[in-house]
Amino acid sequence: MVPDWVAVFLTTYYAGSKGLLRTQLQKILYFASQRGILKDSFGPDYYGPFSVSIANSAESLVNKKFLVETIEFFPEGIGYKYRLSDDGKKVAPLLKEKFNHSIKGLKKIVTVCKNQGTRPLSIAAKVHYILKTIGAPMSPKEIVAQAKQLNWNLSPDEIKAASDLLKKLDLIE
């Protein structure tokens, strides 16, 4: 397992120049934590699984000027986007080399997720969280019902898309 700050650093590195929104970063690292790449510090949140430790690590890397944080405005609110700074680009290959063995699989997760919007990623993470918590196979109908109980409104179509994404990530069969 890699420290959270290394996971944030290298996830942003793999995401390339487009960078990642905070929700994308959180959900990608949630999936990575389920693959054992980093510690699972995620707890339930209104926005789906969320890790304060990951938020802190991103903040710390911004402070150290390894990441650049920009604010983007969307009709539904504010979004924080993270990219590697020039300094970050200089040291990322060294970091990648040092942790190469432990981050196996991270690049694939980022590649699959980086062009997904925040909502599909968030729904996939919520679906995975429900499946993990219940600990048994569930039909889309059951997931919808369970999600409703949790004040998460998911449609069957969204759950289908989420399941496809989770399969691509080898998180469900």
């Binding site: 700050w5 707890g43 339930p44 949140d45 209104y46 926005y47 969320f50 304060v52 430790s53 938020a55 802190n56 903040e59 710390s60 911004v62 402070n63 150290k64 000027k65 390894f66 944080e69 604010i71 609110g77 504010i78 924080y80 300094d87 970050g88 200089k90 040291v91 060294l94 970091l95 429900i130 918590t133 109980q149 949790l150 004040n151």
Partner: protein, 440 residues
Amino acid sequence: MTDLEFSKEVRIPIHGYVGLTEKEVELVDSFCFQRLRKIKQLANTHLVYPGATHSRFEHSLGALETGYQIARRIKSICNDEDKMRRLRYAILLHDIGHGPFSHVFEDIVMRIGKLKPSEFSHELVTVDLLCNDEELMGILGSDLDGVVDLLRPTTKFVEHHIVSGPLDADKIDYLQRDSYHAGVAYGVFDAVRVIHTLKEIPGGFLNRRESYLGASIKGREAIIGMQLAYYYMHEAVYSHKTRRIADAMLIRSIELAATNDESFDTNIFQYTQDDKDFLESFKKLDDRKLVDLVLESSDKTAHEIIESLNRRKLFKAVFGKDMSEINPQTRMNLTQITYEETKKLEEALGEYIGIDPNFIIVDRQSIDNPLYREPYGIPKTGPIYFETEDGKVLEFADIPSPLSRTRSGSVERFWVYAQVKEDERKEKEKLVEDFINSSL
């Protein structure tokens, strides 16, 4: 609403009279609680702000009053006599696990006992004391389990968030109290408005019964003010450079005494959960006694450092830079540096600049972003939630505010402190700068 019958009132700064029930008077009179009179709330901060000599005792009473004001606004608590009583006990007792010099003691135990933050904290000792101290157990009687649950919850409800959370009674009190005693205005915010707008927000996660202490959207400005107060108090008071140097000197002197003096009783720093011997030694410790332990040790260097601290002859900062100003490769190395590597760095620096390494302290400072973190870098409280007038729940970071637009609050710095004479300072500063740029 349940009216409490107070048998005593105590007058303290900020709140005026604080009412105590008969049982609460017994708790206040207990050995463990009275001990808090001898533990300064802000450790060595009085070396910067001479007024900041107030104690954990006073703060605990202030937190009780603040918590009561909050709880009276939450229907599910104020209509339940048992819940209100246990909540008041938990808030009153929340700091009894603090060791000498408050949070500094946590650093000392973690270093000497080689423990992680999750393995030692004043919160853990508080619960240990409640579960093992016969006097406290006798007073709390059948309320003991309920009080312990409030301090060490498995599932969090609104009452747990009043004890510990981003808007808890602890913070609302200490920001105002520490500011008052330090003689600064950084911790002043509209606490009346904050408390007035606090409300219970239902969870709706996997356990539907969970609930949060959030705020009505109308309280946004007051809560932004509180978050700014939190940040500025860290910048100007809690993490003041001189206070950091003084705390670091205290820790160094104890480390030296514990390492080099075989007769020094290190059991007081060897924590394991529910260890009765540790708890008995712990209860006897306070600020003065910890300093006396170093003075009684045979280690001359430890003596010299603690005597210097007593006379306010402090180490000087010979290097201090924002981490972002250090070259990228060195910055990355410093990001990964371990405790053992820090020690090696101090030794190498000492050799390079001609100072005994015991008199050099390397310090990585992090001033938290108030949006995410607890004091002293313990990120446990999670986000602050607001409820809009149409019932939608939003996270603090996602509502427009001066903080969400700038987010320049956090700072991470790298310091080197050393015992240097004023006339040598410039020369040593240059040597340290050269060393850091060329050797890391």
